[in-house]
């Protein structure tokens, strides 16, 4: 096992490392370069698949249906509800800057080729970037390959629910191993006023886990409480790096981790909350 300073990267950071603008990628790499080891986890990989690869398949379907790169760009902007538009991870708009003076037909084909590359090789590129992946939950679906049924046309996305693969996935065993830590989290969560929706879900999930750990896979942990699982997987790694801080404030506090928040604007300075400077301490 390599030793040295270590940082845990969550899903928001790993997606940004692969798919955000160059300035953001540079800012993240600068932060990571100051550590000996960067670590992530199976649930992060599973979330990457669920968010990014699903979106890539959506866009390739749109490109096939509309037959036009420009129409798809307009469609996504105008039709997709605002809250979903904000969650998008893939930026097709860059293609017409890179391949300037190319017509819509060619840009449509290039977009499809890019998306196919992402669908087929995005996860392996992500794993290569991550460096170290803790065994953590051992999430079965994080290793389940995307099936190409017909190139550029049809893709079989993996299942999303732990309950559908419970006999193959050791997530329940992982949670049983961490039961004492889960009790500690539940105790702190119960005392926390004004919980976010995700933290409310985590609280309910932990109650059900402690009451009956043997059937916890029925609650689809990866899908319903991804933040909680990632926090548990990161336990023991001193620094936690994220762009979504709402839930991380709480988890890092209880798990005694330093929290480093990467703002959405690449020019903004990162905020670091060390063990001694947590304004949210419970």
């Amino acid at each position: 096992m390599p030793s040295g300073t270590a940082i845990f990267t969550d899903t928001s950071i790993e997606v940004a490392r692969l798919l955000r603008e160059p300035e953001m990628k540079k800012a993240i790499e600068q932060r990571l370069a100051s550590y000996n080891i960067t670590v992530s986890s199976p649930v992060v990989i599973q979330e990457f698949k669920r968010r990014v690869i699903t979106e890539a398949v959506y866009l390739i379907n749109l490109l096939n249906a509309k037959g036009s790169y420009e129409k798809v760009i307009r469609h996504v902007t105008n039709v997709l509800p605002a809250q979903w538009n904000r969650k998008r991870q893939i930026c097709l708009g860059m293609l017409h800057e890179i391949f300037e003076n190319k017509d819509d037909l060619e840009l449509t084909e290039r977009a499809k080729r890019y998306l196919r590359t992402l669908i087929k090789f995005g996860v392996s590129a992500l794993k290569r970037k991550i460096g170290h992946v803790v065994s953590g939950t051992g999430c079965y679906l994080s290793n389940y390959p995307v099936k190409e049924i017909k190139p550029y046309k049809r893709y079989g996305l993996a299942k999303k629910k732990c309950s559908e693969v419970y006999s193959l996935c050791p997530v329940a065993d992982f949670l049983k191993e961490k039961i004492e830590l889960c009790k500690q989290l539940l105790k702190s969560l119960s005392n926390l006023p004004n919980k976010t929706e995700e933290l409310e879900n985590a609280c309910k999930f932990l109650q059900e886990l402690i009451a009956n750990p043997d059937i916890i896979h029925q609650k689809d942990p990866c899908l319903s409480v991804g933040d909680l699982l990632i926090a548990l997987e990161s336990h023991g790694i001193p620094d936690f790096y994220t762009m979504n801080y709402k839930e991380s404030f709480f988890f890092c506090d209880v798990l005694d981790q330093n929290l480093i928040i990467r703002p959405n604007n690449p020019e903004s300075t990162e905020t670091i909350y060390s063990n001694n400077s947590k304004p949210w301490s419970l």
Binding site: L18, L19, R20, E21, P22, K25, N85, R86, R88, Q89, I90, C91, L92, G93, M94, L95, I98, F99, R110, A111, R113, Y114, L115, R116, T117, L118, K120, F121, S124, A125, R128, K129, P151, Y152
Partner: protein
């Protein structure tokens, strides 16, 4: 109708076995097809209607055309490979830029023939072109030139680009200082 035994060009005896039937090939060649077939049995061989022979002749013609196009693609690949090998050994920024433009043109010519090869090959070509658009050729770094050279000579020039080749090539480009995902990167709402 009376028919006598005869031989075809290969010297095989042709026998009429049943009442001869003239068939006009309108279904597979369009309503105005001028071709008719008269079915015979060749002794020792399987029945082959004359329209099959014509189809075979046509496919041979297409095959030769394909071979010719494949040779063209191979020639373009050799050209791209030679250019990128030279590019990797040059340090003069003006010569380097001229070679990089030549290499860019090679890739554009290959792109014109992208559909002759497997999906991975065309996808890798797409990524290479996007990667090349990220740099000013005058300041191409040594590691970038070596990365491009490796991907072109060891992967793009292969007879078949496999999934594992694609993973390796993407990794090499990243390690060389390129961003293979630049074409779909950015602020998604932009």
């Amino acid at each position: 109708m009376n028919f006598s035994k005869s031989t075809d060009s290969e010297g095989i005896i042709i026998q009429q076995t049943e009442t001869p039937v003239l068939i006009k090939h309108t279904e597979d060649q369009g309503a105005r097809s001028p071709y008719y077939s008269l079915y015979y049995d060749k002794t020792g061989t399987e029945l082959e209607p004359s329209h099959h022979k014509r189809a075979k002749a046509l496919s041979n013609k297409e095959l030769f055309q394909q071979i010719s196009i494949s040779e063209k693609v191979n020639r373009l690949l050799r050209n791209a490979s030679d250019t990128v090998v030279n590019l990797a050994s040059i340090e003069d920024p003006i010569e380097q830029t001229n070679l990089a433009f030549a290499f860019k043109h090679c890739l554009e010519e290959l792109w014109e023939n992208r559909n002759l090869r497997e999906a991975n090959w065309g996808d890798l070509l797409n990524i290479l072109q996007a990667v090349l658009a990220q740099v000013e050729f005058e300041i191409f770094s040594g590691s970038q030139k070596l990365g491009i050279k490796k991907v072109v000579t060891e992967y793009l020039c292969k007879a078949e680009v496999t999934d594992s080749d694609m993973e390796d090539a993407l990794g090499i480009l990243s390690e060389a200082g390129f961003d293979p995902w630049r074409g779909i990167s950015g602020k998604p709402q932009d």
